[in-house]
């Protein structure tokens, strides 16, 4: 990638007292990219975003947007950036239209024709007071205000919260158009399928540590699949260990579940030595891929690499 990065996070650390929300995180996002930022609740996604936008100040490290320093050039960065915060709050006494007018006035240079187009595409209702909207309708206002000035960089924190599936599709089309126009999208999410669907590059953050940054295409090459085999009688897991491409095997009664990559043939040839009743296969979620391929990094971040429920901490 030759173009200079749109967003550069350089050894960012943010501590709240004894709690480290983000620990020595670095990554770059380039123009025209949709960058998926994945992690469970409390992993440090929003903290990273808020530091990029100068809402909070790094304990160490720095962030740059469009080559500008997030601390000293915050106003100029804000002018050229669109932001949708997680858990969006708006002024309940303004209507949707008044909210957009207010924010358009503060930004200047908003083409109202484009606002109308966005409103139509997202099927948003601008007539009611914000306090009376459902969370989905409020989220649409949030999306419109982030896009309406056609910013060079879009930072979206959990954007599809509350949106119905049809609007989600339209929203993802909008993201792709934005990236195709050479603009940059930073998409923070804990919804794997959303990131899989639209992102070019994916970063995985856990307990404040950046585990890995991968091109989506590389990740898909590594795609793991999961197979569930049901036998007539219980089969020892050892039968599948060491088989080419097989990563993890678990046995529950007469059912064997295994993760594998590449061809299914070696696995099937072992399985068919026994009495197979049924076979089911499915792709493995992105986070499981991360957990599988980056076991050591996840363990170093303090997580259990085998399987770990979401943890909640005070800072998301």
């Amino acid at each position: 990638m030759t173009a200079s990065p749109s967003i550069e996070v350089d050894r960012l650390t943010k501590r709240y007292g004894d709690f480290t929300a983000v620990d020595d995180v670095s990554f770059e996002i380039h123009p025209g990219e949709i960058f998926g930022f994945l992690g469970p609740n409390g992993a440090g996604k929003s903290t990273t975003i808020r530091a990029i936008l100068d809402l909070i100040r790094p304990t160490a490290g720095a962030c740059r947007v469009l080559g500008l320093d997030s601390r000293t050039d915050a106003v100029e960065i804000h002018r050229r950036t669109g932001f949708l915060p997680a858990d969006l709050a708006l002024w309940p006494n303004l209507t949707g239209k008044q909210t957009l007018q207010y924010l358009a006035n503060l930004r200047g240079g908003v083409d109202w024709g484009f606002v109308d187009e966005l409103t139509q595409r997202l099927d948003a209702d601008l007539s009611k007071k914000v306090g009376e909207y459902s969370s989905g309708n409020r989220q649409k206002i949030g999306i419109i205000q982030a896009f309406m000035h056609m910013p060079e960089v879009l930072i979206l924190d959990e954007p599809i919260t509350g949106l119905d599936p049809l609007v989600q599709l339209e929203f993802h089309t909008l993201l792709r158009e934005t990236a195709q126009a050479g603009r940059t999208v930073f998409l923070s999410s804990h919804t794997i399928s959303e990131v899989e669907r639209v992102a070019d590059k994916v970063a995985f953050i856990r307990r404040g540590h950046l585990i890995a940054v991968e091109q989506m295409s590389d990740l898909q090459d590594k795609a793991l699949r999961r197979i569930t085999l049901e036998f007539a009688a219980p089969v020892a897991p050892e039968a599948f260990r060491g088989v080419e491409g097989v990563h993890e095997v678990s046995v529950e009664g007469a059912t064997v579940t295994a993760q594998y990559e590449g061809s299914m043939a070696p696995l099937l040839s072992v399985a068919t030595r026994h009495d197979v009743v049924s076979v089911a296969s499915a792709s493995v979620d992105l986070d499981e891929i991360f957990l599988e391929f980056y076991r050591d990094e996840v363990a170093a971040a303090g997580g259990d690499p085998s399987r770990e429920p979401d943890t909640s901490s005070p800072v998301a």
């Binding site: 809402l55 106003v75 932001f83 915060p85 709050a89 002024w91 949030g142």
Partner: protein, 551 residues
């Protein structure tokens, strides 16, 4: 009105400010009309007053009854209302957008934090100045409507003094809100400063040798230089304005050096203090650990800090007043004899030559009702706060009836009022013992009981508004506004014997038309307050059951 942060802030607040101005106009009109109805008696009364006193209070002899009433509007009610409007805007300037979560959007607009702060401060100053100006014009109108005129009163100078002092408090609140990001702390500490500076400015001159202290109180500069008679005293006003500018600069510095809060999941000042190993144990003991045993216990633990801080303040003042009474001794009789009715009316025509009367004037007429009203209104409005915070969806789907939820809040409100009453009585008792004043202990207890009764009634008003509308701001503003109006009616209308019976529409009449420290508990008055409160709570419960919940 949505073209800028400044205009939107003015747009959001002008209606509230207008309500405050209308309330001031009504009080001024009632007072002037009551005095004017006395005809020649009033004029003769003023002419008989010592010139030294007229000079002290800034009343010119020609200004007559209008001047007396306006002295009260500019030195007492006006500053509280107008500074109060400004302080609520100022405390919310940065910290309010943070608490509401809207700073996430506003803070990422192409506006520097300094510019946001300055826009918000300018809006608060605009609303303060416009409210003060409108109120002053309305006083002149009130005088004309009562067949009087405002000749001899320098309304413009008094307005300028009021605006400058209010701006000083606005800047103080902005500074605290911007540095800490905590709206509650900013407004609470500033209101505390206003009340303390009001008391210092009023009480310090009563103690021989301590009158210099009054000049350190911003409140002193409302009436000290007598702007209504002498015009603008530019020197001290310039000092106050320079201090205000410095505080706004400190605010800009403070907001630029810290993280902005995202609103949700923010750590309250109380929790920060609780976590501090040095003070945590004590803070937890005072504030409670946030009981979750029942709806009532949770509601009570929410208002406990307010009860303890307000109650401790009024109890402390009660002790000081006891000592002060001994210190002033015989001097007070001469001073009180020369006071005009407008001033005496505010303190219930107390006979300040006795300890009981002095206590009534200094504690029971204004400060104790104010504290119990703040506690009770907050406890009553808390019913609607569940809807504002959207916690009602969880609460109301738990296995409790709506009646139980509303009744729990009502119980908390009664408990809070009774506790404040207890703390008032405890403070009076301590002052009585320390200063050896020999007041009747039973009557001291009765005074606490009457304070509690007044609180229960005012809290019931807040509860019924909260229950019927689901809007906590309406409950706070409505009950607060009515309380101020009722206080004004009870204080000023009886000045004219022809209108005296109208005071009966005010709960303050049933609370203290006779000094409980002198006559003991007024059981019939208490019965009226409690009976009316019971009816209001019953209406509130019915309304809360009947309507759709918000959020």
């Amino acid at each position: 009105m949505l073209r800028s942060v400044y205009l939107k802030t003015v747009r959001d607040r002008w209606v509230g400010a207008l309500v405050g101005v209308v309330a001031l106009f009504l009080v001024a009109w009632m007072g002037i009309a009551a005095f004017a109805g006395m005809g020649d008696d009033a004029t003769a009364f003023i002419e008989a007053m010592p010139p030294a006193y007229l000079s002290l209070t800034g009343i010119s002899a020609e200004a007559g009854v209008v001047g007396m009433m306006l002295g009260n509007m500019f030195n007492f009610m006006g500053p509280f209302v107008i500074a109060g409007i400004g302080v609520s805007m100022a405390a919310a300037a940065i910290a309010g957008e943070e608490a509401d979560g809207t700073m996430e959007i506003l803070g990422t607009m192409p506006r520097s934090r300094t510019r946001l702060t300055v826009s918000k401060v300018t809006a608060a100053v605009t609303v303060v100045a416009a409210s003060a100006l409108t109120a002053s014009v309305s006083y002149a109108l009130a005088a004309v409507m009562s067949g009087e005129d405002v000749a001899g009163v320098n309304l413009a100078a008094a307005t300028v003094h009021l605006v400058v002092v209010a701006v000083f408090f606005v800047a103080f609140a902005v500074m605290l809100g911007a540095i800490t990001g905590n709206r509650g702390l900013a407004s609470g500490a500033t209101v505390g400063l206003i009340v303390v500076s009001f008391l210092v400015s009023g009480m310090a001159p009563l103690v021989p040798g301590w009158d210099w202290l009054a000049k350190w109180s911003p409140w002193y500069w409302l009436q000290g230089p007598q702007p209504m008679a002498n015009g603008i005293d530019a020197g001290p006003l310039a000092v106050l304005l320079v201090l205000a500018v410095v505080m706004v600069a400190v605010a800009a510095w403070g907001v630029n050096r810290r993280d902005l809060s995202a609103g949700h999941g923010r750590v309250s000042m109380l929790d920060k203090l609780r976590r501090d190993p040095r003070v945590g144990r004590w803070v937890t003991r005072i504030a409670g650990s946030g009981s979750t045993r029942s709806v009532t216990a949770k509601a009570f633990s929410d208002i406990r800090p307010l009860i303890l801080i307000g109650g401790a303040f009024v109890a402390f003042q009660s002790v000081v007043v006891g000592v002060l009474y001994n210190a002033i001794g015989a001097d007070i009789t001469g001073l009180v004899d020369s006071m005009p009715d407008a001033i005496l009316a505010m303190v219930g025509f107390a006979d300040m030559s006795t300890a009981e009367g002095f206590y009534f004037a200094e504690v029971l007429s204004i400060v104790a009702p104010l504290v119990v009203a703040v506690v009770a209104i907050n406890a009553g409005a808390a019913l609607a706060k569940e809807e504002k915070r959207r916690t009602v969806a969880i609460l109301a789907t738990a296995p409790v009836t709506r009646t139980q939820i509303a009744a729990s809040k009502a119980t908390t409100m009664v408990l809070g009022s009774v506790l404040v009453g207890f703390l008032v009585a405890a403070g009076l008792a301590l002052g009585n013992a320390v200063a050896g004043l020999g007041m009747d202990w039973v009557k001291v207890a009765a005074s606490g009981l009457m304070v509690a009764g007044l609180g229960v009634f005012i809290g019931a008003v807040a509860l019924v508004i909260a229950a019927a509308t689901g809007r906590s701001q309406w409950a706070v503003a409505g009950a607060g506004g009515l309380t101020a109006l009722w206080w004004g009616i009870n204080s000023f209308v009886p000045v004219n014997p022809d209108y005296a019976d109208w005071a009966r529409i005010s709960p303050f009449y049933y609370y203290g038309h006779d000094n409980p420290l002198e006559v003991g508990a007024d059981w019939s008055g208490l019965a009226v307050l409690m009976g009316a409160a019971a009816v209001l709570v019953a209406c509130g419960l019915a309304a809360y059951r009947a309507r759709d919940l918000r959020g």
